[in-house]
Symmetry: C2
Subunit: 216 residues, 2 copies
């Protein structure tokens, strides 16, 4: 299914998918609500069976025409990228919170996101692996200097220093070393008051991807 | 919302939630299908708007009675645990594949799971952060020797050695050092043919949780 999947170039303007983004974004928002309710609902068996049957009809409607594989990643000549299916930032992916990464300047980024019941590990706490998932993504985007170059994760080290309650969490990352081939990024996730996880990542710029520094 | 949330003791038999597990498990399976279709459907705007409206009705039905916070984790006197909301293994959590961890013996575990379009990072590949998410969970379960003791993640180090295509992936983990207070676990995720990520984790047995070794 996934062999030969690559970044896809599309010769389209930035707003080419505006309607798709609006209608599928609206659907994904409702799916995120359903994911949460499937965990938190106290409805009885009869009601849940009714909900499941109606949901099956919705699925059958959406299943009439589907792409054979995953969403992939597309981009156009202006550098606008579409990664609707991405597990962390994909607007059409209800698994993704989605994270919205803000790039403050070359090599610096941050994000604020609300993590609800679907991201739980220990009771009431964000799953430690979810912290790793979000940090990996933010750090990769930071290393790539806002998608101006391709980077691949080499190693990732996470230090868990405090539990992280579900609710609003904050991430911040920055490049601390960069020789154009190897990029070192440090990042944290936590609440407004306390860091929960400290991370260090080594990202590699593949030889086929050029050696431009941040901002180029 | 999450303050004071703890592991909850329930004085109930192992099969107390059998009907809930069946009906909500069936709902969650259909929600996982919807998450996938929301990414892969090529339905037009009118059909997607219809699907969204019908989905909103399903959500409103399930929203009539909900628990105020996340699912939490409950257990009973026989050691049976319920963590329906867990982000990796929760049966009612459509974000979770869900992973089913098999414990081969004291300090050894493995899992096989299919990762579809919702777990994508690079085109056609499993998101590197998803590998971290699944590894963190499997390693924590391994360190806890199948829930016979409480452990907390101290540090986690991941080495990315090859891309991991979407599809069937395999995880394996084992305890390599254990002095009853600090537990070292190594683990991998990959395909049947190739390891994609190698991980090492240091897990801590909190002083309030006793110092029993594996199998006790």
């Amino acid at each position: 299914m996934t062999e030969g999947v690559t970044f896809e170039f599309l010769d389209v303007p930035d707003d080419h998918f505006a309607e798709d983004e609006e209608v599928y974004g609206g659907l994904a928002a409702e799916v995120r609500r359903l994911v949460d309710l499937t965990i938190r609902s106290r409805s009885g068996a009869a009601e849940v069976r009714t909900a499941t049957a109606r949901l099956r009809e919705v699925n059958d409607l959406l299943a009439r025409d589907t792409r054979p594989g995953p969403a992939g990643v597309a981009f156009n000549a202006t550098g606008r990228a579409w990664n609707w299916g991405n597990a962390v930032v994909g607007e059409r992916n209800a698994i993704a919170p989605p994270l919205v990464v803000e790039h403050d300047g070359p090599g610096e980024s941050r994000a604020t996101v609300h993590l609800g019941a679907a991201y739980e590990g220990p009771p009431g706490m964000v799953h430690g692996g979810v912290s790793a998932l979000l940090l990996d993504h933010l750090m990769g985007e930071t290393a790539s200097s806002g998608f101006t170059r391709v980077t691949m994760t080499g190693t990732l080290t996470l230090r868990y220093v405090a539990p992280l309650p579900l609710g609003e969490v904050r991430l911040a990352g920055r490049i601390t070393e960069d020789d154009g081939r190897k990029v070192l990024v440090t990042a944290t996730i936590g609440t407004a008051e306390q860091v929960a996880v400290e991370a260090t990542g080594l990202f590699i710029v593949p030889s086929w991807a050029g050696t431009n520094g941040p901002g180029n």
